[in-house]
């Protein structure tokens, strides 16, 4: 979520800067060369809109736009200021130091372990880490051929990855669907 907001901040920041520069240039030209360029705000759509805002008419659309801009501003502030802290899988934490691993290589290890299991044609591990250390969830999808039993494959994979997952404090869920045609058993 924070990554998405950061990307949004960068994109909107870039676009807003360009828009601001163009508007500023327009105002500057209108102020300096308004007469020569034939720019007159009197009777224009801008002046009519400003007059309507000052009047007693309904301003629902402006309120929605204003609220949206406030919300966008808050999101941009969160995206710009929120600290980006990478969640790591903690193996050990104590007075001698911490042993931890990044999410992606650990997921690769689980995938490799599952693919080594007998009866598995293809595996993919998804790892979600919690905010607290040693809290996370591992979902392992281990595909199998028709000739092997789903329960047997699940148990075999669990016995191969269970120790490592438990060491990192991960809750494990193993799925053993039928694999795609053409994939070979390890």
């Amino acid at each position: 979520m924070i990554l998405l907001l950061r990307a949004l901040v960068r994109l909107l920041g870039f676009l807003l800067l360009i828009a601001l520069a163009l508007i500023g240039l327009g105002f500057a030209l209108a102020a300096l060369l308004g007469d020569q360029l034939g720019v007159q705000l009197e009777g224009s759509a801008v002046s009519r809109w400003l007059a309507r805002l000052e009047g007693n008419d309904s301003q629902g659309l402006e309120a929605v736009i204003g609220g949206g801009m406030v919300l966008l501003g808050l999101l941009l502030l969160i995206g710009a200021l929120a600290p980006r802290r990478e969640r790591r899988a903690v193996l050990e934490q104590g007075e001698h130091g911490t042993v931890d691993a990044r999410r992606r290589p650990l997921a690769q290890m689980f995938t490799a372990l599952a693919e080594r299991t007998r009866g598995v044609t293809h595996a993919k591990a998804k790892l979600r880490l919690g905010r607290q250390a040693r809290h996370g969830r591992l979902v392992l999808r281990a595909e199998r051929p028709r000739t092997t039993d789903s329960t047997a494959v699940r148990e075999a994979v669990r016995s191969d990855v269970g120790e490592l997952a438990a060491a990192f404090g991960l809750k494990t869920r193993i799925q053993a669907p039928l694999g795609r045609r053409g994939r070979r058993v390890q």
Binding site: G97, T98, V99, A101, R102, P105, L106, A112, L164
Partner: protein, 121 residues
């Protein structure tokens, strides 16, 4: 200038830099460690006096010791024995260098895991 071995660090260098260089060499000498990783921005390093040790962050603690964090790229091996081996080797090499009393906790961070590449003839 990046430092590759403790021999490149002068004796007059800071304890922080000497510890980082020792930890780097010790980690690289441990079986199962394929390399050290300074991160995409190269921020995981210890720098002092124009020298730089990549992949090791050495931070001063309040009691005069230094916390050492080793950011490594591991082979497909069991991680806990690997971390224990790295930590033991760092502690041993630091003790040999006479800096055992300055060494605090040793963190081991696995930044990447790679399959060993076999040497081709």
């Amino acid at each position: 200038m990046p430092v590759c071995s403790p021999a490149e660090v002068p004796a007059s260098a800071s304890v922080r830099l000497r510890l980082a260089a020792l930890a780097r060499a010790a980690a690289l000498a441990t079986g199962g460690v394929l390399g050290l990783d300074a991160g995409r921005a190269g921020m995981r390093m210890t720098a002092s006096e124009g020298l730089r040790v990549d992949g090791v962050v050495c931070a001063a603690l309040g009691d005069g010791r230094y916390q050492v964090s080793v950011h490594l790229v591991a082979a497909m091996v069991s991680l806990r024995p690997l971390a224990d081996a790295v930590r033991a080797r760092v502690e041993r090499d630091v003790a040999i260098a006479g800096l055992a009393d300055r060494l605090g906790p040793v963190d081991v961070a696995v930044e990447d895991v790679q399959a060993r590449t076999e040497a081709r003839p």
